[in-house]
Symmetry: C2
Subunit: 161 residues, 2 copies
Amino acid sequence: MTSGTGIDALDAKLIELLEAEPRIGVLECARRLGVARGTVQARLDKLIARGVVRDFGPRVDPAALGYPVTAFVTLELRQAVGHQPMAQRLARIPEVLEAHTVTGAGDMLCRIVARTNAELQDVIDRVLASEGVLRATTVIALAEQIPHRTLPLVKEAAGLN
Amino acid sequence: MTSGTGIDALDAKLIELLEAEPRIGVLECARRLGVARGTVQARLDKLIARGVVRDFGPRVDPAALGYPVTAFVTLELRQAVGHQPMAQRLARIPEVLEAHTVTGAGDMLCRIVARTNAELQDVIDRVLASEGVLRATTVIALAEQIPHRTLPLVKEAAGLN
DNA sequence: GCATACACTGGTCGATATGACCAGTGGAAC
DNA sequence: GTTCCACTGGTCATATCGACCAGTGTATGC
């Protein structure tokens, strides 16, 4: 009973299945879940329409691309500089993969990758060169203990614990 | 000339195309890129084999799932507790989407989501309940200025600037 | 009690993409 | 000059897709 914004157990199992084996089609999903093909199709359409599933784009691994160094950089900005223009400047740096405005002492938190530690310094310098950055605090990611995941959350939302 | 670990301009354009419209198939890609279908197939196979493209799994949006609050939590751990067992404990909390060991004052950096700010406190309490956590520093993400992206990096790696 | 709305079933249909082949061509490296 | 490799452009059978359809079951509201 797909209520309002919620997620169904079938929805969750569908997402889990696609997560595990993205190559299989709608038909194969239907077979494995034991439901009609049209049902899977309808569920998937609705999940996409509601924005729960954004897309099925290729997930690129920066490390395999030659950028094995990941760092999280907290920026302190001059108050006069808005976040929007700052984000635009950051967006021009390819190594900046992600940026959020945050609460606390810092104003922005960015995820940055680089080929080497030396090049990381280079990237940070480019960030610092942006007008309005007062200070950058960097922590380097030594290991990815939990790679980005959403499955457990999907199951939780579906009430499957 | 797909050299060693590098990325080709054709590879980059292929990834870009798939990123923009994940639903189109190999055949359509070949048409748009102006190459033979077999070429696209071979390139894609190699990209996946090399790990540059991890998979084509569904990208789930936690906000659309009902978890609009994102926070980054830095954990200080008791030295005696290893990172591995800590990661295993964190992995049992569905709201922990990501975790890295990091340099600096903190020992681990986690990405956490929650339904509300009140529930965020709840999740953090669950994290703190884990044995070995001395302190947790939380910053809440107010806005996603740059959503997770890899395209600019792919182009950079391919030498397309 | 009855009518409506909705989700799912199980079936068909034609159009299309897929993965597998193949011989032939061009360029680069040895 | 020869070998290697990537790409081309073509064919083939199979499987899937997206679209339909009537029928069933359940929950809802009148």
